[in-house]
């Protein structure tokens, strides 16, 4: 954790506040470390996907996974400014989240080149050893011209 400059931690915290969709979901910053990031979305009535069970929508998990992957990318790229876009995102849904329960996500950017980042992410509700979903993503990285 200490390897991440305080300034970057502030950028990471701002990433969820200034992105309109992250703010609309009530997304919260959890932690950041080199090439890794963690965010969560607390349960809310209007985010439910199945009104019979009160379980949070798969789409919320999709957005949380995508956004946390973006944070891990930023944490891997360091303080160098860049913009990023998702190339592809594959998600496996292991099970529905527990009713009326939020979701936590951690992502790891395990390889970054000049133009592409490869990221894995896991999402769970209560117990990290009992996952709700996993994701594998590739991002294109737009660095400023040297």
């Amino acid at each position: 954790m200490s390897d991440v400059p305080e300034a970057f931690r502030e950028i990471a915290e701002r990433m969820v506040q200034v992105t309109p969709q992250a703010a609309a979901l009530g997304m919260r910053f959890v932690s950041v470390s080199p090439a890794r990031g963690s965010l969560d979305v607390p349960w809310r009535e209007d985010l439910v996907g199945d009104p019979d069970t009160g379980v949070i929508a798969g789409g919320v998990v999709t957005t949380l996974l995508d956004h946390t992957c973006g944070l891990a990318m930023a944490a891997a790229a360091g303080t160098e400014p860049f913009s990023t876009a998702t190339l592809d995102l594959r998600i496996d849904y292991m099970r529905a989240a527990a009713p009326r329960t939020g979701v936590v996500c951690e992502a790891h950017c395990y390889k970054i080149t000049r133009s592409i980042g490869f990221v894995r992410a896991e999402a769970w509700d209560v117990d990290r050893s009992d996952l709700v979903a996993t994701a594998q993503a590739a991002f294109i990285l737009n660095r400023p011209n040297p």
Partner: protein
Amino acid sequence: MTSPAEQLQAFMQRVPYIRFLGMQAELAGDEMTAILPPSQRLIGNTFIPALHGGVIGAFLEMTALAQLSVAEPARRLPKTIDVTIEYLRPGRGGLTSYARADLRKVGRRIANVHVEAWQDDRDKPFAALRGHFLLSSDS
């Protein structure tokens, strides 16, 4: 007996997250078009501005589920098993998005669905999804 159009509208109104997205759907025969009007809160990149990649994925997934609700009205809400989302170009934040689902195979337990989304030009999709959904027969 409820008509496919009533079935679809019941599905669209039942799910709180569909209202959160502001997503709508229209039915022509058995072909459904999902519609996502532009909204500031769906933005993921304020510089372009572009729709959030997660919103695009969610819109495609909800399109697949809505089309399944029309095709398989007797069944409960299917469960998503896996999805692969391909991002072809930015989803521009100021434009309305449209999507159509193609039910490639609807078996006894599993449905395979492809979805494509576009904005101003049907021939230039900005994102696509391929996914598997678990169908449950108890109604």
